[in-house]
Symmetry: C2
Subunit: 186 residues, 2 copies
Amino acid sequence: MSAEERRESVIRAATTEFARGGYYGTSTEAIAKRVGVSQPYLFRLFPGKKALFLAVAQRCMEDTIRTFEEAAKGLEGEEALRAMANAYTKVIAEQPERLLMQMQMYVTVGAAEQAGDPELGEAVRSGWMRLWDTVHLPLGADTDGTTTFMAYGMLINCLVAMGFPPEHRVWEGLYPQARLEGRLEK
Amino acid sequence: MSAEERRESVIRAATTEFARGGYYGTSTEAIAKRVGVSQPYLFRLFPGKKALFLAVAQRCMEDTIRTFEEAAKGLEGEEALRAMANAYTKVIAEQPERLLMQMQMYVTVGAAEQAGDPELGEAVRSGWMRLWDTVHLPLGADTDGTTTFMAYGMLINCLVAMGFPPEHRVWEGLYPQARLEGRLEK
DNA sequence: CTAGTTAGTGATTGAGTACTAACTTACTCG
DNA sequence: CGAGTAAGTTAGTACTCAATCACTAACTAG
């Protein structure tokens, strides 16, 4: 397997591990095991653990932005909103680790910046702004609507992180299709 | 100082440290240093690091619940909503570590449960439900309103975690008094 | 005074972890 | 074939960190 392909599979494996344990709670060995490669080899593919986390965070942001872009393509206003909500519901069901990884990157910014490493914070904030604009545009530049949409998204992220099962009443009124289709998984 | 008083100051110090670094990113030595006590002594006051984190998490939930209870006391509907929003704004400005600690406990649930430790998850979920009910009641049992209120709260938590400065445009429309009074601090 | 308790410390240990260095295998191209 | 290169491993280092142990100083009750 080429180094580039390996890097790709490392990013996928690291997403799962970092999503669960966060930056400090995840060992490079756990990531290597999941990839099926020796732990030192990770340091050939990435300069260090921080760089790997950053790569995962950026990938995670890009994926989410692309999810919304594709969902809202050609739509506007209410229709675009529903399409994006549906798309997010699908992510909840099929790739909850992407939501958890988002949470993990948010809470890691503070520690990184205190440690004198502004890179992650800058990447996360700029990613957030791009995400925000991605939603803002198809909603017809409705700022309140965009804020509300993002707010619901963050609530969902938190509920997923807390481990509420899909049939729990906290999900009432939140993207109901997720419950009806019964696809939310732990 | 009595053991009980010490435990209290340990919880306060640990809140600050855990808020910044999370469970895995915070050493017991850092907490002990902040308290002004030797590191081994922490283990006289708490059975272990996990127990300390749990104590901090529970305290954090109780404080937030009490904040809303007191703010909404004697009020109903729209008035209660505004009072609770104002109260939260004050927390953002004066005790941002409480918001960060909330985020940290949410994202730590997954790792704890995978490690075969359901205690934190149960405490967090039950705390969330109590918080939810605390908001739900004064809003006149308006479920949608409660969900929206909680959603905005989670969005705010995330923005604080990401380190957006108070004058940044992402805060537009979010608890505007926070910006106007210029009290949001890093 | 003495026996016991309470608050607290210094030294240490054992496990885990990010990262490095040196080596090996397999494939490619002249 | 033979040289180079790209992918990957084994072994090891330096360090951090939660937790334990054995100890001490101050106070308190009989």
